[in-house]
């Protein structure tokens, strides 16, 4: 598994697809899902943070779901926004989301074979 993180609109997906040659059909995206592309079989999960947010909203455990995805798809590439670099939100749900996503990403980074942070479209390998 590999993890690619960075801020909004940093060109993360473009960077990953260009680097790996993975076709867009194999990208699972919770925002605009490719038909028949489930996250447990996709080569790339884009907008991973949105997936975590959606699960929290549905009252499901994102930690359990992530474990399940990794068990069935150990070679997946995960792309996520970093959302923790701001003023602590006044809304408790938003605070919970930031904290949970942060911890999940730390866990993924620990397991990942490679972690890169994308800044202005440039990949900085941090693991």
């Amino acid at each position: 598994m590999e993890l690619y993180i960075g801020g909004y609109a940093q060109g993360k997906l473009t960077y990953v697809l260009k680097k790996t040659g993975i076709p867009p059909e194999r990208v699972y995206d919770p925002v605009a899902s490719v038909p028949d592309c489930a996250e447990t079989g996709a080569a790339v999960i884009n907008h991973f943070h949105i997936l975590v947010k959606a699960l929290l909203k549905e009252g499901k455990s994102p930690e359990d779901r992530v474990r399940e995805i990794l068990a069935r798809n150990p070679g997946v590439i995960v792309i996520s926004d970093e959302v923790g670099n701001g003023i602590v939100p006044t809304d408790a749900g938003e605070r919970e989301y930031r904290e949970r996503l942060g911890r999940i990403l730390c866990g993924l980074a620990e397991k990942a074979d490679r972690v890169e942070r994308i800044v202005c479209g440039i990949g900085q390998k941090i693991k």
Binding site: E82, N85, G86, I87, V88, C106, A109, I126
Partner: protein
């Protein structure tokens, strides 16, 4: 040695800061300066989580939400390594503790002086701060003043620190100096 550690919420900066402080301290005294004020269950949960993280590592915890130099008299194991967590709470406490909100420059100047003085009472000072600067939201005046004060203290400490490290998804990334 002085080390500044930054990162966002849930970035793993606390765990890394503890590891750094423990390794710097060696067999010497180890203090944890807690600056967070507990207001509710969520704050309590956060404090408990940090307490569990620190358990068994030999830290003497000193709670000092304002007036950080008052902690010096409680360091009764002698001069040692201090882990201060975190600057973002300390700035907020100093700024908003009294009825009248204090000016950002006044708060920043006071903290810069106090932290310099604190450093002189330590063998090693590890300071945790928080990256609250990159969500692009145009906050109202009070929050902007807070961000300004924290930004000033961060830059002041970073200029004097031997190492500045950003923790990203649990991974330390050197900003200044080498990783410890």
């Amino acid at each position: 040695m002085m080390v500044l550690i930054t990162g966002g919420s849930g970035s793993g900066k606390s765990a890394y800061a503890e590891k750094t402080a423990v390794s710097l301290a060696g067999k010497g005294p180890l203090y944890y300066l807690a600056t967070m004020k507990v207001y509710d269950g969520e704050g309590r949960k956060k404090v408990d989580r940090h307490r569990n993280l620190r358990a068994g590592k030999g830290f003497l915890t000193i709670e000092q939400p304002t007036g950080i130099l008052l902690a010096v008299s409680q360091m009764n194991r002698g001069k040692g390594t201090v882990l201060l967590e975190c600057l973002s709470n300390l700035v907020a406490n100093e700024m908003f503790a009294s009825k009248k909100i204090r000016r950002e420059k006044e708060v920043a100047d006071q903290l810069c002086a106090e932290l310099c003085s604190l450093a002189e009472h330590t063998e090693h000072l590890v300071i945790v701060t928080n990256n609250v600067f990159e969500d692009g939201i145009p906050y109202e005046e009070t929050t902007r003043a807070y961000m300004e004060a924290l930004g000033r203290v961060n830059a002041f400490i970073a200029a004097r620190a031997d190492a500045v490290t950003e923790v990203v998804v649990g991974i330390p990334v050197p900003i200044k100096g080498d990783l410890l």
